[in-house]
């Protein structure tokens, strides 16, 4: 029994990286949209928003724990993205770039740092329940609540690594921290999460 479980561990972890795999044709269409938006075509930028808005909002909601504030920060992310679009060099996918903008918007927002509420209270619970649908909604809300109680830095690293599939090197680059710090924050987040869910 032991050997079988042991054999399974590394395979699952290395395969299940959860990194977004580009859909066939997506990079090309995204590039075309970015080029059009760079020329000032707002309709193209709207399409980019439609493709990426939900991912940005998910980050903002998990970090602020407040649906109204998350909506404000999502808007700010895309407004800032529009202003900086000329500086987007295409080294990464637009989705990666705008997510990085969102991380900076969230970190730069003082209001999100003073939130004492836990996700699942107030408007946030309705938004999340809608997102989960019927299946396992209670179980997932318990997990979201536990994540929302994590310290801000640890929570952000957990979201980036375990939900978004970023690697420590990438997280270090986005947050301006050392890779070792990213690892330490992740391990702390997981430990706190385990403790919260087992209590």
């Amino acid at each position: 029994m032991g050997v079988e479980a042991v054999e399974r561990l590394p395979r699952v972890s290395s395969l299940d990286r959860r990194r977004e795999v580009p859909e066939p044709g997506k990079p090309g269409s995204e590039r075309a949209l970015v080029e059009a938006a760079c020329k000032g075509e707002i309709e193209a930028f709207e399409e980019l928003y439609r493709l990426n808005g939900g991912v940005v909002f998910a980050l903002c909601l998990r970090m602020t724990k407040d649906a109204a504030l998350a909506e404000d920060l999502t808007q700010e992310t895309f407004v800032r993205g529009w202003r900086r679009l000329r500086s987007f060099r295409g080294d990464s996918a637009f989705s990666t770039w705008i997510y990085r903008v969102a991380v900076n918007v969230v970190l730069g927002n003082r209001r999100s740092r003073t939130q004492e509420v836990t996700i699942g209270e107030g408007r946030g619970v309705g938004v999340l329940a809608d997102a989960y649908g019927e299946a396992q909604v209670d179980l997932k809300l318990d997990l979201e609540r536990a994540i929302s109680r994590l310290p801000e830095r640890a929570r952000l690293v957990l979201i980036l690594h375990d939900i978004k599939g970023y690697r420590h090197r990438e997280i270090a680059g986005v947050l301006g921290i050392a890779e070792g710090t990213s690892k330490a924050q992740l391990h702390r987040a997981r430990r706190l999460l385990r403790e919260a869910l087992s209590s």
Binding site: Y49, A67, V127
Partner: protein, 216 residues
């Protein structure tokens, strides 16, 4: 093999981040220690639950109309003379703000603006392209430094943070004015120089505030 040594590495093991030699040691340990193996299995189950959370959550209302309204309100060009006056005034304010702040924040980091930062040289006819290229570096650096500023709340007095933020707004205003002017006159090298200088002021201000030198 001690359990403590293994438990310190379970996260890295599950993430596939251990060197092969260490991963094999951990795996061998599991064969003789069901407790450690159980811990790894529990962690894996937790990670599967976390990974199963939705990557996308749609806001309950459509945010696009609000975003679009703000995009349409991008900086508009003022009539010629007024526009340049506004640019000059804003830059003057920004320079004054930085000079004042230098006094408040003490010595700059070693690689801060002044002696070591390379000067961006703009060539007539390519001003806008050069600026677009510079914007990328400055934007990234600005974001990194702002994140540092926000994540070290105890390192600066609240009044200092407020002063930095106020000065950033002044410089941002100058940047938006110059950008609008450049859009009207894309090959104006003087304007492009002013824009790059404004970005440099902004980075310098943030470097001093955070005591974090950045490479551009």
């Amino acid at each position: 093999m001690r359990c403590e040594w293994v438990r310190d590495r379970i996260d890295d093991y599950v993430d596939g981040e251990l060197r092969r030699s260490e991963a094999l040691l951990v795996r061998d340990h599991f064969e003789s220690c069901p407790e450690c193996e159980l811990k790894a299995a529990r962690l894996l189950r937790l990670l599967e639950r976390v990974a199963g959370l939705p990557h996308r959550i749609e806001p309950t209302t459509d945010l696009w109309p609000s975003i679009a309204r703000k995009l349409e309100r991008r900086p508009l060009a003022l009539p010629g003379g007024r526009r340049l006056l506004a640019v000059a005034a804003a830059l003057l304010l920004a320079v004054a703000a930085v000079v004042v702040l230098r006094g408040n924040l003490g010595r700059p980091p070693r690689s801060a603006l002044g002696t070591s930062r390379p000067v961006t040289v703009l060539v007539p006819g390519t001003a806008l392209a050069e600026v677009a290229s510079a914007e990328a570096s400055f934007g990234d650096a600005r974001d990194r430094l702002l994140a540092v500023l926000q994540t070290r709340p105890g390192a600066l007095q609240p009044q200092t943070v407020a002063t930095v933020q106020k000065n950033l707004r002044v410089i941002d205003h100058a940047i938006s004015q110059i950008t609008a002017a450049l859009e009207q006159d894309p090959n104006n090298v003087d304007l492009a120089h002013q824009l790059v200088a404004s970005y440099q002021l902004e980075i310098s201000l943030l470097e001093r505030a955070t005591m974090t030198p950045v490479e551009l």
